[in-house]
């Protein structure tokens, strides 16, 4: 039942994670059937320039979509940046039009009404609160069209909408307007939609519709398009977010696969124990005349029933647990309020089927074993002499083979960054390790046991008992080993993955906060800078001064190299002497930079070829250190204003505390603006988006932690199971010891020592094994991100060992009490 619950929980975690991500990243088209988007990168690769419009979705495309059979409603999504004046302050906002069709609308109105004419607008709740905007307020919206025409409109706030969880739009104020107003601001530019969402007629085959839409659009000259279902689009978006490949989905998939495998192993283990207990019962039935067939069918029917009932119970349990977890998550972590429980039909049917099937298989193997025993032999008292459990040669060879080939695949996968190969390697090597377990586990246990027994008889007996049935010890230890390996693997893997992801995000969002005055007319005095530095949450600051321009027309800035180092989020992107840090779009290896500022384009200043450090960041001014500026361009902080003319123009880069919440960040934003006396929209940067991504990553880690909690639980139950079976089997022996003068206390101590020995050793090995798997796994998943930051959560790992030992101790309490309670004579009499 627990196994099934685990399986169901896994699937639900997957479904919920997808749903939650859908809710977050894909919030704009979560209700749509199909999403059409232009594939910019494909167009760029094909060499089509922007003008040829082979990918831009225009009004014509929308019309084509509308005209396609099977489309019941469609909407072109586009956004436009505007500045919003509330009367006292100016903010930056993103304007969009709500889909006319209710089926496509994802905007949830909290209070008031949606805009009904060009003089009305709705504001999202988070920013309305932040900026103190309420219904009835009059806002002045301003924008400049591509033809440099200033457009300004007074609008009234008609309603407040729920805030978007999309990291892309959640970081700015969202305004919803009617199409007419939108067009006013877009100033008659050729419409270019970000995406077109489509609601299909009821009963339409989406795959067919996808095809016909693609054909219809291609006929209009659009070549590079993606027509996706909403789910596909979200997967694709997530993939774009996480570094070009579908990393997150793969990670989730791997987690699910691992969970499935573990469930299988644990269920098998548990059933082996259960059937071992019943071997004699089955044999008795054989003696009394039951045919092999009859036994088999009775066992299988029972297994079927047990499997079905337990699986159903497991699914219910998992649903309950997941609902509870998500409710807690949503209630306690405000940023997680978009977490959603999703119970897909798969999450119900698959676990029940799998659970029943596994139960059947698990019952089948031991039942066959029981049947192959001669009925009489099985009825003799169990021989409890020390079992000489010599691992068969075939087993050793096979195990070694598995370990070696698995390790090779794992290493290959890690080096190549291919998680599927690495996963396969892990899959191969772990059973290998388990097969060899009977070789090294009992030896380790007895070695550690003899070290710790302290010479007392119960201690000595415990360490002897711990290894007297190597098969059982291995089984017990294996249950825990699996759990602990998994837990520590996830811990190390997640920690490492997080560290690596942080590094990746750091290079994508190099600068937390950037203050940039688009007019390039500001210069900040020392007082203002000091004020900003002292704001709560600001960790460091770099002042960028314009020193020249590149051949391609980008303005090049210089700053203090030390400050630059502290401000950048990625340590390997700090430009050295002769190097220039540039944004992602730059080609080639060097950048030709000319000192000075020439409005007329006259080439006067010193010219230098600087080696480019190309970052992942999309919008970044080329930056050099003052050392480079002085040596290569002849510009120093002292002569810059003379060399550069009247106005050097300054940009500020700030690093802020990672732990700031979104609300803190917004406060900080306005504080910075007022300290520097600039408009609030001049204060921007990647920190908001970075924060959103961090939230998503944290959420994924939290979900995985939930998974792990279940795995640990299963391992614990396995330990308690096996231990109590051990104790039951040794009832007579324990009674003999009691008769010979072992006190109750000594008996309990003996059993506890045995449990702790097995548990401790399993945990220790598991942690070591798990760390190795985790590191290699993370390396293979994160391989695509380049350099990996190894990070091992020592404290957590120590915690895992402590928990396992305590759990083993706890698992021994009940059996030990039962054993101690028994009067010696009862134990001796029991057969």
């Amino acid at each position: 039942m627990i196994g099934t619950a685990f399986l169901a929980a896994t699937l639900m975690v997957n479904a919920s994670a997808t749903e939650t991500l859908k809710n977050s990243i894909g919030s704009n088209y979560s209700t749509a059937d199909l999403v059409i988007s232009g594939d910019y990168s494909a167009a760029a690769e094909a060499g089509d320039d922007e003008k040829s419009s082979t990918y831009a979705l225009g009004a014509k495309a929308l019309k084509t979509v509308e005209g396609t059979a099977g489309v019941s409603a469609s909407h072109g999504g586009e956004t436009l940046g505007v500045s919003v004046n509330t009367g006292s302050k100016t903010y930056y906002a993103v304007m969009q039009v709500n889909p006319a069709d209710a089926r496509l609308n994802t905007t949830v109105l909290e209070t008031g009404a949606l805009p009904s004419n060009g003089e009305q607008v709705t504001v999202d709740a988070t920013y309305a609160k932040e900026y103190n905007i309420s219904i009835g307020d009059v806002l002045n919206l301003q924008s400049t069209t591509s033809e440099d025409k200033e457009i300004s409109r007074e609008v009234k706030v008609s309603g407040i909408t729920a805030s978007s969880n999309d990291p892309m739009t959640g970081s700015v104020m969202n305004l919803s307007v009617v199409p007419a107003l939108f067009q006013t601001f877009s100033g008659g530019d050729e419409t270019s939609f970000d995406y077109i969402i489509v609601a299909a007629d009821a009963g339409t085959n989406l795959q067919t519709l996808k095809g016909s839409l693609a054909t219809a659009l291609e006929a209009t000259g659009l070549k590079h398009l993606n027509v996706n279902t909403a789910d596909e689009q979200i997967t694709q978006d997530i993939a774009t977010f996480s570094g070009g490949e579908d990393q997150l989905t793969i990670v989730l998939l791997v987690f699910a696969l691992i969970a499935l495998v573990v469930t299988g192993l644990v269920v098998m283990n548990t059933f082996a124990v259960l059937i071992a207990q019943r071997t004699r019962e089955l044999a008795l039935m054989r003696t009394l005349g039951a045919l092999r067939k009859q036994i088999r069918s009775s066992v299988l029917i029972e297994a079927l029933l047990v499997g079905l009932i337990a699986s159903a119970a497991g699914v219910l349990l998992a649903t309950g647990i997941m609902a509870g977890l998500i409710a807690i998550l949503a209630a306690t972590v405000p940023e997680m309020s978009f977490a959603v429980l999703a119970v897909s039909p798969q999450a119900i049917i698959v676990p029940i089927l799998a659970g029943t099937l596994i139960t059947l298989i698990a019952a089948w193997v031991p039942a066959r074993k029981a049947m192959s025993v001669a009925p009489l032999a099985a009825l003799r008292p169990a021989d409890d002499a020390t079992v000489s459990n010599k691992a068969g040669k075939i087993r050793i060879v096979f195990g070694l083979l598995l370990v070696l080939s698995g390790a090779a695949a794992l290493a290959y996968g890690a080096i190549k960054g291919d998680i599927l190969i690495a996963f396969g390697g892990g899959m191969l090597s772990f059973p290998g390790v388990l097969m060899l377990g009977s070789l090294f586990l009992p030896k380790t246990v007895s070695a550690i046991g003899s070290l710790t027994s302290g010479g007392t008889v119960p201690g000595k007996l415990a360490s002897l008992n711990a290894v007297r049935n190597p098969g059982r010890t291995t089984a017990t230890a294996t249950a825990l080993l699996i759990g602990v390996t998994l837990v520590s693997m996830m811990m190390v893997g997640a920690q490492t993955a997080k560290a690596s992801l942080n590094e990746a995000l750091g290079s994508e969002y190099l600068v937390d906060v950037e203050v940039i005055d688009y007019g390039m007319s500001k210069e900040y005095n020392a007082d203002q800078l000091q004020k900003v530095k002292q704001l709560k949450g600001v960790e460091s600051l770099a002042e960028l001064t314009r020193v020249g321009s590149s051949a391609s027309g980008q303005e090049v800035f210089a700053t203090d190299p030390q400050n630059l180092k502290t401000v950048l989020n990625s340590t390997n992107q700090v430009p050295g002497v002769g190097e220039v840090l540039v944004s992602g779009g730059n080609d080639g290896k060097t950048m030709s930079v000319r000192a000075g500022y020439n409005e007329d384009g006259a080439e006067t200043g010193t010219k230098a070829e600087l080696k480019m450090l190309i970052s992942e960041s999309n919008s970044l001014q080329p930056v050099v250190g003052w050392d480079t500026a002085e040596q290569k361009l002849g510009i120093t902080p002292a002569n810059v204003s003379k060399e550069m003319g009247i106005n050097a123009g300054s940009i500020l880069w700030l690093k802020v505390d990672d732990s700031l919440s979104s609300a803190d960040l917004r406060t900080l934003q306005s504080d910075i603006a007022s300290a520097l006396n600039v408009e609030e929209y001049a204060v921007g940067g990647g920190v908001m988006e970075k924060q959103m991504f961090n939230t998503v990553i944290d959420m994924l880690l939290m979900i995985v932690s939930g998974l792990l909690a279940v795995a640990v639980l299963i391992a614990l139950i396995g330990v308690a199971n096996t231990l109590s079976l051990s104790v039951l089997e040794r009832t007579r022996e324990n009674s003999l010891l009691r008769a010979l003068g072992l006190t109750r206390g000594q008996l309990k101590k003996m059993l506890a020592t045995e449990a702790v020995l097995i548990g401790g050793v399993a945990a220790l090995l598991g942690v070591v094994l798990g760390s190795v798997y985790g590191l290699l796994g993370a390396q293979s998943v994160m391989g695509a991100f380049g350099a990996m930051s190894i990070s091992i959560p020592w404290l957590q790992l120590a915690g895992v060992i402590a928990v396992s030992v305590v759990a083993a101790l706890a698992a021994s309490v009940v059996p030990a009490r039962r054993a101690a309670k028994l009067a010696p004579v009862q134990g001796l009499a029991s057969e």
Binding site: T386, R468, A739, L740, R744, L828
Partner: protein, 250 residues
């Protein structure tokens, strides 16, 4: 019915008065012992016999402090054990009682020597080396001390158990069908050992058996039926014991 009246404690190793033991309740209530008064002379080999369900095993378990009687008094070596708590009872067993069981006599993980020394090791006491050597030599176990139980024959295992029982020089050694799992030749061997330990070492031995041949090795045979002592045979022979048993309807 008193068979042997308890007189001075120096001659008596173990005695019990008014011993009762009841199993179950209501309709399943079974009186296993109905007020048994019994005493065992020091340095004697006594066998307790009786048909199945006569209470002979229960009597032995109660006398040895393995099971708790519902009423009556038990004195071993002058000390009343009926009021002791579990730990005190356990310590009493370590020091004053030795056991030889039908089977499952040895701890399978320990060597023969460790098994022999187990009660003393549990008590945290040193053993008397000379005494150990004497016992081991007498029982012919010298070459077997480092063997694990599963490497020993049934007779050898039982001899190890006897050695373990004798090592502490207990007040009394209890045997619960000690030959039940042995073939007749090795059984005879073990019984001879037990008898000689009484004769030569003055060891008190109380043995429960339903085998008339085994009982014939004893100095005295006590007969039980329905939870009561019903007879006594001194200097028993196989014939006299068999006859007495058939008289009990066994």
């Amino acid at each position: 019915m008193t068979i042997t009246a308890p007189h001075t404690s120096t001659d008596i190793a173990v005695y019990a008065t008014g011993l009762t033991k009841i199993y179950g309740e209501g309709t399943t209530r079974v009186e296993a012992l109905r007020g048994v008064d019994v005493s065992f002379a020091r340095g004697k080999f006594t066998a307790i016999m009786g048909p199945s369900g006569s209470g002979k095993s229960t009597l032995m378990h109660c006398l040895a402090g393995l099971d708790e009687a519902n009423g009556g008094q038990i004195v071993i070596g002058g000390a009343d054990i009926s009021q002791l708590n579990d730990d005190a009872l356990t310590k009493m067993r370590r020091e004053k009682v030795g056991f030889v069981f039908q089977s499952f006599n040895l701890v399978p993980t320990l060597t023969a020597e460790a098994n022999i020394l187990l009660p003393l090791a549990l008590a945290g006491k040193k053993h008397d080396k000379a005494w150990l050597e004497t016992i081991v030599a007498t029982l012919g176990l010298k070459d077997r001390l480092n063997h694990k139980p599963h490497e020993l024959s049934g007779g050898q295992q039982q001899r190890v158990a006897v050695a373990r029982a004798l090592l502490t020089r207990p007040e009394v050694v209890f045997g619960d069908e000690p030959t039940g799992n042995l073939d007749s030749r090795t059984g005879a061997e073990v019984l001879s050992l037990l008898r000689s330990s009484t004769r030569e070492m003055g060891q008190t031995i109380i043995m429960v058996t339903h085998d008339a041949v085994a009982a014939s090795y004893a100095d005295t045979v006590l007969l039980m039926k329905d939870g009561q002592l019903v007879g006594q045979i001194e200097e028993p022979t196989v014939e006299s014991v068999t006859q007495a048993l058939s008289g009990l309807g066994a």
